[in-house]
């Protein structure tokens, strides 16, 4: 199967601190892949490197066949990204922000797409509100929309369900599952293991910047294991090491 994303020996150092240490992984097209790890394990740094937001100290990576080091803007042009804790620009309204995204990404027929997303995520009543005045949940809806409005072949999402209420979480999980069925790829980073087990087809566990495990979720299920318990035992063992 074709590869959507491939990282080879990726390392990122901030001074003396090694945030990501020699990580190699590959994600197939049409899969929903979960990057799991406790707080500070390097998940966000990994996503930042894969989307060209930060340069690796060493190693290489390609996303949809584009080299993230040589052409970071090209990568961001092809994928959809929801960064961790990022908010849309303060002084644009929700609708204007989507128009801004559409203009930068050169997305045609934006009005129809905007309307669909406002209805789907149930925030049409907020479309003329300044982004700085939106609640966290609505900002997350807006960031989710900007990541998917151009229907990218690959979306990279840092904590996809954070700030969503249970009803919205359910809706979004269904949307993500349907999205990969169309042959597109989703790469999520999360520490909510139950969600990962429910929606991911493949996963990798990162701890203290090191890759502890990577493989399909089905492999665990076949062994009668659950992702949360597998994750905890692996991380706890690594802590003792």
């Amino acid at each position: 199967m074709a590869v959507a994303l491939e990282a080879k020996n990726l390392t990122k150092k901030y001074g003396d601190v090694i945030a990501v240490d020699n990580v190699s992984l590959s994600v197939e097209r049409g899969s929903l892949f979960g990057l799991l790890g406790p707080n500070g394990s390097g998940k966000t740094t990994m996503i930042k490197m894969l989307t060209g937001q930060t340069r690796p100290t060493s190693g290489s990576a390609s996303v949809l066949g584009v080299d993230v080091i040589k052409d970071p803007v090209g990568v961001r042009g092809q994928v959809g990204i929801i960064p961790e804790q990022e908010t849309p620009p303060s002084f644009l309204t929700a609708m204007e922000y989507l128009e801004f995204v559409a203009a930068v990404r050169k997305i045609p027929d934006i009005e129809t797409k905007e309307d669909w997303w406002f209805d789907f995520l149930d925030f049409a009543d907020k479309k003329n509100v300044l982004c700085k005045d939106l609640s966290r949940g609505t900002r997350q809806k807006l960031m989710f929309t900007q990541a998917f409005i151009h229907e990218p072949a690959l979306a990279l999402i840092d904590e996809p369900l954070i700030n969503f209420d249970p009803i919205m979480q359910d809706l979004v999980k269904d949307y993500l599952a349907g999205y990969v069925k169309k042959g597109r790829t989703i790469f999520i980073s999360t520490h909510i293991l139950e969600v990962a087990e429910e929606i991911c087809s493949g996963f990798a566990i990162l701890h203290k910047g090191t890759l502890l495990h990577t493989g399909p979720v089905a492999e665990l299920t076949a062994r009668g294991e659950h992702l949360p318990s597998f994750f905890l035992s692996l991380v706890r063992k690594d802590r003792h090491v």
């Binding site: 090209g74 961001r76 303060s90 801004f100 203009a103 003329n128 509100v129």
Partner: protein, 468 residues
């Protein structure tokens, strides 16, 4: 109480030192002291064109304005911090998570602001003036009195903002009523006495004739304003959701001739909706330039003929170059990080918006030329001012990328900036002094400007785009 107070002081220090660098910020009161000390020696010269009362008025107005600005920042602190540093909060907003009442935190906040800014702004100025007093013939009591009345001016600004914002948070109609009552009261007083109402400003009254009764009245008014502000204080925002009709698409259409219409439209909406375009134009551009023009006009006899206009043009150019900081102050890289936008594209777009804003300094220089009877040199003065502005912004973009608000306070960056800009200013001011029409030669600065911008784009594309 004391622990909260000291932590708030530490927090205020860290906000400033993070923005400007510890050393640069630590030297700030020293700079204020130096300006006051040296400025005191200019008083005899200023008195030849400006009555002493007016000078006192200007200084007190400045400290009143400072109090207003400090109070305003305190109340908007969270918003400013979040724009600059990403997710951040201040201790003043911690009542939700700590077993301390909001009013108690606010009381500490007010005391912290008073003490902190007294040592940062008021005391260094007063101390400089006091130290110069034996040489300028000002009696020591007069210098000490100025320190007292400047402190009071600052406090009137600070507690005035707290008072009005506390009312605003409770009820907007009541705020308008209070403002109306103030206007009617001041207007009535002026009509009854036939005196400029500004002269009834308590610190000014005290400065012109100190009496203990007036001093106690000033203190009582301040205590009343602080008291009402603390009683009415409500840390929650009014909570209104601002809505706007879609202005982005039409604006982008209008900017279709620019290199990056969507980015230019976004910058324009940022400036307009934040109120910064008017606020910054008045407080960061027109007000300082008016003061500089006033001071430079005192030195008019020392310049060659027509020299004052070109000095004003060059100074306007340097101050106009800081408009680049206006357009970079709203963003973090975050919203762009998920889009196919390179740092060099953002630099280009911010510089485009900057270029549009250069209409403001051009108009200012034209007004100065017309008012000073130098209309014949209007074009060379505008060319000089705007060329200097573009050159200085080229240097700024090369040295600071998208973070001029932060990096320009880095001592090394500031040093290189001063050298590169200083040399050009000296050369072109001298050229303009030699012959006003030679100032047109400043267009040659377009070449180094273009090279600097090109280097800036390459340099900052190669660096991880952090927050700016």
């Amino acid at each position: 109480m004391f622990e909260l107070f000291t932590n708030m002081v530490k927090e205020e220090w860290r906000v400033h030192s993070t923005m400007f660098g510890s050393l640069s910020f630590a030297l700030f009161p020293v700079m204020i002291f130096g300006i006051a000390l040296m400025g005191s020696f200019l008083i005899p010269l200023m008195r030849t064109t400006l009555p002493a009362g007016n000078l006192t008025l200007i200084i007190h107005a400045n400290y009143l304005m400072l109090g207003i600005m400090v109070g305003g920042f305190g109340l908007l602190g969270n918003e400013v911090m979040n724009r600059r540093f990403g997710q951040a909060s201040l201790l003043a907003f911690s009542a939700r998570s700590l077993p301390i009442s909001e009013k108690f935190i606010f009381l500490n906040f007010v005391i912290k602001d008073t003490v902190y800014y007294f040592f940062l702004w008021v005391l260094p100025f007063g101390f400089g003036y006091i130290l110069a007093s034996p040489f300028t013939g000002v009696p020591l009591e007069g210098a000490l009195l100025l320190l007292l009345t400047l402190t009071l001016s600052f406090l009137f600004g600070l507690c005035g903002v707290f008072f009005l914002s506390a009312i605003y948070a409770r009820s907007r109609p009541v705020l308008w009523l209070v403002l109306l009552a103030l206007g009617v009261g001041i207007g009535g007083l002026a009509a009854m006495t036939g005196t400029n109402p500004v002269l009834f400003f308590p610190p000014l009254l005290l400065n012109s004739a100190f009496t203990w009764v007036n001093f106690l009245i000033s203190c009582a008014v301040l205590a009343l304003l602080f008291g009402i502000a603390i009683v009415l204080f409500n840390p929650e925002s009014v909570g209104s959701e601002k809505t706007y009709r879609d202005s982005f698409a039409p604006l982008m259409q209008r900017f279709s001739f620019l290199p990056n219409p969507p980015l230019a439209a976004k910058d324009t909406l940022d400036l307009y909706r934040s109120g910064s375009l008017i606020g910054q134009t008045i407080f960061s551009f027109l007000l300082p330039l008016a003061v500089i023009w006033f001071f430079l006009s005192l030195l008019g006899p020392f310049f060659p003929p027509h020299g004052l206009l070109f000095i004003v043009a060059v100074t306007t150019g340097v101050i106009a170059s800081t408009m680049y900081t206006w357009v970079t102050m709203f963003d973090t890289f975050g919203p762009y990080a998920c889009l196919p936008v390179a740092v060099s594209t953002l630099i280009e777009s911010k510089l485009t918006t900057f270029a549009v804003l250069q209409a403001i300094p051009a108009i200012f220089i034209a007004v100065v030329a017309l008012f000073s009877g130098e209309a014949a040199y209007l074009v060379p003065a505008i060319v000089l001012g705007i060329s200097v502005s573009f050159y200085a912004v080229g240097v700024m973009a090369w040295l600071c990328g998208l973070s001029p608000n932060v990096l320009v306070y880095d001592v090394k960056v500031l040093f290189v900036y001063l050298i590169l800009v200083g040399i050009v200013l000296t050369i072109f001011t001298s050229v303009a002094f030699a012959n006003p029409y030679f100032a047109l030669s400043a267009v040659i600065l377009a070449i180094p400007t273009w090279l600097l911008v090109r280097k800036a784009k390459v340099r900052w594309d190669a660096v991880d785009p952090g927050g700016f």
